[in-house]
Symmetry: C2
């Protein structure tokens, strides 16, 4: 079905006005907003058409019009103006993101914060790693009861653990353990680490104290947790400012859904690198999101790692502005994380991909 230009203009006016005011839009308002030189009566005729073709709807007879999901979709696909960020906005984002560029976890969480801050919607920040294996084992002997395990993974992240044992061992044991683990435990997936493999290693190094078990246990733990990425939600409080969530019941349902991060794990499958994806109302699979919209932007977080930032809000969302902002943040992240740009200059920041943690 074809839609006349005038209808599109009208639809656009309805969407933009509704986004701003959250009130059904009447014919007179549209006339002003769209700057059309025809009377409200004419616009009413067009509105009736747009209603019957499903782009708009009326909360009740004799109310103004409200966009449907189909209406928003058309708007997003064809009518939405590409929005430019203001200099202040880009500068704020840049400053906030690059300040902490040394710490990846921090950076990703900051990106979520930032997304929520600039859009005024709850934001999600998700990372998903493709399965990694261990590239290298190092064992650092500290004292007769203590050593540190350092694992270098194929995705260039480093994991460590301090192990303190109630019995003592010799430094030479570390060297032997290193050799065996580097020989037998590198390049394999979690399920390949079997009790058989562990006991054969124990025999190989003469370990009667369970050192191999400790190290292997840590390896299993790392491999199993590394494959599931983390998700983070910030700024839920923003929902409560919106008129569509003045019913606490409704707000509660959505916030509850968002607070269970396992619900969010499907999102990464929906985006393609570099793209901004918009899911409007019923386009969402989850029942809890059927009358909300989600805007997602993915970024490249370096080797084998994909990141996603997104915001959740009512279908009446300022798609244009939100998309622009997320897109910018995602691009900045890709750049900062070396996924396609030059790293930021500065002291101690040269292509560094390590990590920090608290034990």
């Amino acid at each position: 079905m074809q839609i006349s230009d005038r209808k599109k203009k009208i639809l656009q006016a309805v969407v933009e006005e509704y986004i701003e005011t959250a009130e059904p839009v009447g014919s007179k308002t549209i006339q002003h907003k769209a700057g059309l030189d025809c009377s409200p009566a004419t616009i009413r005729n067009e509105l009736a058409d747009l209603c019957s073709s499903g782009y708009l709807e009326q909360p009740h007879t004799s109310a103004g019009r409200v966009p449907t999901a189909k209406g928003y979709r058309l708007y997003v696909n064809e009518l939405m103006r590409q929005q430019k960020l203001s200099v202040e906005e880009t500068e704020a984002i840049n400053a906030s993101l690059s300040a902490k560029a040394e710490e990846l976890d921090q950076l990703i969480s900051d990106a979520g914060h930032m997304a929520s801050l600039v859009t005024n919607y709850p934001a999600v920040s998700i990372t998903s790693q493709t399965p990694a294996t261990i590239k290298r084992f190092d064992l650092i002997y500290i004292d007769p009861n203590t050593f540190i395990i350092v694992l270098l993974l194929t995705n260039d992240t480093v994991k460590n653990k301090l192990v303190h044992l109630p019995f003592s061992f010799e430094e030479s044991m570390m060297t032997r353990l290193s050799a065996v683990f580097n020989a037998s435990f590198t390049g394999i997936t979690e399920d390949k680490i079997s009790p058989v493999l562990i006991s054969s290693s124990e025999r190989a190094v003469g370990d009667t104290m369970g050192l191999c078990s400790v190290i292997a246990g840590f390896a299993i733990e790392i491999l199993s947790t590394a494959k599931s990425g983390g998700a983070l939600v910030t700024g839920e409080a923003n929902l409560l400012k919106l008129p569509e969530f003045k019913d606490p019941e409704k707000a509660h349902r959505l916030m509850n859904y968002l607070s269970d991060t396992s619900n969010l794990s499907i999102l990464p499958s929906l985006t393609q690198d570099g793209d901004v994806k918009v899911l409007i109302g019923p386009e969402n699979v989850a029942e809890e999101l059927k009358d909300s919209s989600v805007v997602l932007a993915s970024y490249n977080a370096g080797d084998n790692m994909k990141g996603l930032i997104g915001v959740v809000g009512p279908t009446r969302m300022d798609y244009s502005s939100v998309a622009a902002k997320l897109s910018y943040i995602a691009a900045s992240l890709s750049k900062l994380l070396g996924g396609g740009g030059s790293p930021p200059p500065g002291f101690g920041k040269l292509m560094i991909k390590g990590d920090d943690n608290d034990g």
Copy 2:
């Protein structure tokens, strides 16, 4: 001022009934609840007294009574029955906490989740570390362009970073760097790491490529971030179920306050190890918490590290149950983290204090 036993009984009945129903409590209800063998009229006389001495108040003439902060305080200090957790509750907490005992960050965040889950209030989880210094440097040479920095801190946490440089260096350089850093950079605080110290190290090892700067930069970063602990808020959505937050405006104010974790950094100063602390309404310093209550429990997270879990809710909070639950969780954490108990048995879990991170 002395309060008769009967008045105390009545106050207790009012508090407990109000906690349950969130409705002002009338004299008849109290008669039943407290099982007093006197008439409602008598109780009304007592209520009037309790009102004038400030333990109760009336939303309006001819409504029932509601406890004031002073009333809650008396209740918490003297009248509250020590509540025992059910076996299911303790088991649920134990299971959830020990399952992930290997990862400290995870454990702390789980504890927050758990606190929110069992109490149905938003929970905060805060850790504050007392300043640590670096105990030991290790540098692991990976290839001519790559090495890993491993720092062991005095509080027995381990930090690491993979550094990939655009120029190559020899393995022997690592050994020299290790020696210098272990000699000059251990045991000192962040502000002692001066450009002068760095350049003298560069001269000592013959570093013309800025390797010393990279390592020193990482050390500074670690020392400066390690001293500020992390805070985490979970379960904010729970607020919306409560009748006192049916006004979204009110809920928004509190959630906004909580979402800024820097607001929470004063909390640790309020508790003593092992104690459960209750702050009722206006006893809170922050304006935003003046009509909410906070219950805090601290735990010992091992060397030089103090942890705090707490929940935030309306003054009408089930103090007894919340205090019992938090206390139990805090005790479990202290135990798990080796701050005064035996570590849990099991594969790979022997007094381990390391950490894992994603870079």
